[in-house]
Symmetry: D2
Subunit: 343 residues, 4 copies
């Protein structure tokens, strides 16, 4: 049994980790920390977990996280980078669900996140935890930077096209729509029910923090600089991301359906739908799946990829568990065999 | 033209007042105050008002509210009671949308609201602004205590039965459901979209502040002490209250349908539906109407009244405008002729 | 491995059975029938099941249901009563999720359901599948009548009070709120998104089919005739029932919290919340749990019970699987260990 | 007073016409036809209209529509083309809210709508009712083809760029999101609440009927063939369209903000937001406004236009009333001065 710790368990990625780990056959939850809520039973804050998680939140100073095999950071940006060094030195592996280790170029990270980075040398060591690209490196990693939600949906949709050199890298467009849980469990007016319900809007058009992350990932795959216009939108869902991706084809004769099916043939959590399909976000609700469809409308030179994930699962906690499974040599789907909830 | 001021225009009752007053033919908006947002154009905070309201928020010290004919308080509880005396002395009439002047028994008010009342003598003077009960007093009032949202829906539903002495006063039940805007435009976790959407719960079962207000109103009508069990619920609507009211009939032979129709025959904003109807909250969305249906299931001795309002209109801003119209001798429906928005 | 058949798998209770049975370790899905959709892969109609259910819908004539150990009917009312005799004769056990076998009094059933019953003798044999009341009989049953969704939530809330003789049986009130999936997967205007979203209404006030079912169940427990006013409401949730139950206490000194805790101490799927709690529907989303809280507001003589279930799980498919487990001597929670999905 | 008739008043565009016309000072409602619901009071089907519309639905044969000044068709496609000739001959002007007269190329229309056109000669005469482009022609028109909802939002967003020759016409992208009322008031499974709520999906990627309409409109403005990729999505709103439009700039030095502001300076119903804004659909809920913002992310060569309308108002009934006002020389905003409903 792996001894698992969670730092910052009171947000949505924290409670989602708990939901998944509570059903994971090789995991023993060791501690969940919260400075503000130390002593509170987890199931009091999240009654959905009554009967499944019997821990209380522990103060970080009393959590003995160095006794864990692995620690997940489900914290705001800027926390993990301060605590990871000590954990690694104690032989604990770390998976950060925040953005601290995602961007290799420290200057870029500091510009977009508005902080000085506390441990640039660990950024160099960290493995970007997108298993469909980096599985071998993840196996060896002490420190995994778990990808952002939008970057997961967008990269999985573009990767086959870019690997095959089929689209113009300089003019990609990602029009992405996210459920409101993506904004986190924070008391803020714009994500109140009375603000976000029955409403739709774009945000971050001038520049969203996930843009450099996506650009870095696609550039790595492409080998050439990637030009991307990324427009995120807030849509009245609790969970779900739908990325609608547009690229200009260099070669209209390619069999796009076959390309996608072959690229993901061995991936447990990427499901390429039959030609002509249009995936719904609810078809992955609560599950670690990414479902993808590829279209070429009216036989033109624009390819349209539709990619859906549950932002809290494949876009956060589920992918983190997948990474943990890979790091420790467990079956990759262990604890992740949750059938999507529909309706 | 009435010169109108609004204190505290950044909440939902404030923006709703603005929506209604922007279309009111006898009103000139003089000032909208906000300490925190002074200088901000109203339409920047509420883009829905672009083209309809050209004011900016004014600091209270610079608003010259004493030049108004009437001032609405759309503030948290405890503000109006500190500023009303000066306005009345300056000849300004006041309509408080908060609870400061609703409860005649100061001790009861102080217990439920957890504050010492700043001006008990004005509580005695204030008129409870439920036009269907107090129209004549409202005409003469300098100070109107605008009713709460639940109390409006519940009282309008019970009043005909109680006036006619048809139900046992000691065991009334009000099972009420409110949309999330009833919680106000405040940054709080329980009313986030990701918390309140696709979810239903009761709250305040042990005691909600609207309970003493309803009890006072029904006791006034009844002449006898009223026993009421009041259970409010949060339901994933933006706007709307649905009150389901239960009482034990003293007399099963009464013609309840006729009773309700006659009681409200002359009321512009209470619509008694045909026998057998079940009103929907959306049938009053955006309007000042209360729609009511009365049932006696299976011919038993339990009467069931269904009463719906828009909590921000008849339950707050609309009723306040109705009170203003009555106070100043304007047509009672002036500015309130908004057709409900359906779907 | 149990060989399991499902008749009528294209509705919400059908797809929910598939979700649960797909993860059930002792079940092998043998056939899912649909006359209209024979030949269509299940995962084409319900993409959420891609990778979990590989069957196609089978025409009833080719399903060989007589080879099953157990057959679930997830059909409209009136179907199971025509096919159950043959299955029982072939040694197949039957669980009907519709209403055909729920009401013992055939005349009552025929009045409320508007049909002549096809096999009254089987109604006599059928066991009403509420495990918390009838577990021992379910163990022996060939034919289980799976309870309705409202009846499950309402009965579980009232039973401890009635068994203890603590409430007046003649004047119970059940104010119940259901998510829209309770109406089924049928093309009808009132349950369209544009009709049911951002809207709240009562329905069936004059008489809902679940009323006689609840009355029968509570009368059995009470030993005396039970008088119940039952008002169901439609609320904009996908899943979830919240029953708010009211009764007049005969004895105000009883320890209601202890009563409920003791009554359900050994029940895996009834969770009595700590005193003062108010359960949310989402705390059971996707799970077979019923969470209950009991209140006595202001220390009065009215008891208020709050009871929540997922209408498709404990209110339908989950309870059916629970019944199957009991019938076949499997662990009662087998296949039902799904952590609720929150947010 | 204009005598107004409505053919097909039981859908969402019909009830929306009624809502707007009920408050129109120069309109007298003469008749609303419905074959299936003849005799039913309008307010029985739409309780929101109780007190505002006192008509009953009339059988088409008894509606005497030839006595009207203007008749609106709020019917499915293919109805108006059969009845318009007779009305025009009787001197009645016609506004068709369906698609019968929108596409000038009859072959294209017949291909996309799957019918033979009944009166091609009237297609030639019909004026496409987008006032911001065709106001002068609308003034003279006997027959107006009211634009589709997507085409309104998309064209208003692209027109300034195309008129100024600033974008490459051959590679436009319109990623559009619509509320569910856009699918109409029809009993269909995919638009049930339990299907469409908490869900997001693309549809019609291979080809949507609004594509040729948009292409025709933009080609007229451009003078050159326009290449457009159009991907519509269903989002869980009741009302609202959000179009996110992408184009490649020919000239990065143009002042896009000034361009849009000047283009729509005299338009009452197009509101160009300040630079950096991101319009919300709710900011136009219930109103005839189109709010637009223009962005050039990261100073690149891709222009992003955000355009929002209420699909039932500016996208249907409101624009139809605007056209009526123009046709009859009334103030263009008459009856359309509805403040958007927020929250």
């Amino acid at each position: 049994m792996l001894k698992v710790g969670i730092v910052g368990g009171t947000g949505y990625t924290g409670v989602e980790l708990l939901r998944l780990l509570a059903g994971h056959p090789q995991v023993q939850l060791h501690a969940i920390t919260s400075r503000a809520d130390a002593g509170t039973p987890v199931s009091q804050m999240f009654p959905s977990l009554r009967g499944y998680v019997n821990l209380s939140f522990t103060h970080p100073d009393e959590a003995h996280l160095d006794q864990c095999d692995v620690v997940f950071f489900a914290t705001p940006n800027g926390i993990a980078m301060q605590q990871t060094r000590a954990l690694l030195d104690a032989g604990v592996r770390v998976i950060d669900l925040a953005a601290d280790f995602r961007i290799k170029d420290i200057a870029v990270w500091e510009k977009w996140y508005g902080m000085t980075h506390a441990c640039p040398e660990l950024v160099a060591e960290a493995v970007y935890g997108l298993p469909e690209v980096n599985r071998d490196k993840i196996k060896q990693a002490r420190l995994v930077a778990n990808p952002g939600c939008y970057p997961t949906a967008v990269q999985l949709g573009f990767i086959p096209l870019i690997e095959a050199g089929l689209v113009e890298e300089g003019s990609l467009i990602a029009d992405a729509k996210s459920g409101v849980s993506g904004a986190g469990r924070k008391a803020e007016i714009p994500t109140l029910f009375a603000e976000a319900s029955d409403n739709f809007k774009a945000y971050g058009v001038a520049g969203h923090r996930h843009l450099p992350e996506i650009r870095q990932g696609l550039t790595n795959v492409s080998g050439k600089p990637v030009g991307l216009t990324f427009v995120p939108h807030l849509t009245p869902l609790i969970r779900g991301i739908h990325a609608t991706l547009y690229g200009r084809l260099k070669n209209k004769d390619a069999d796009l359906q076959a390309l996608f099916e072959q690229r993901y043939a061995d991936e447990a959590f990427v499901d390429v739908l039959p030609a002509g399909s249009m995936p719904e976000t609810r078809s992955v609700r609560g599950s670690n799946l990414c479902r993808i469809a590829v279209h070429r409308p009216q036989g033109g030179d624009t390819v349209v990829v539709l990619s859906v994930i549950d932002n809290l699962v494949k876009g956060a906690a589920g992918q983190a568990v997948q990474n943990m499974n890979i790091m420790f040599g467990l079956p990759e789907a262990s604890g992740l065999n949750v059938v999507p909830l529909l309706p």
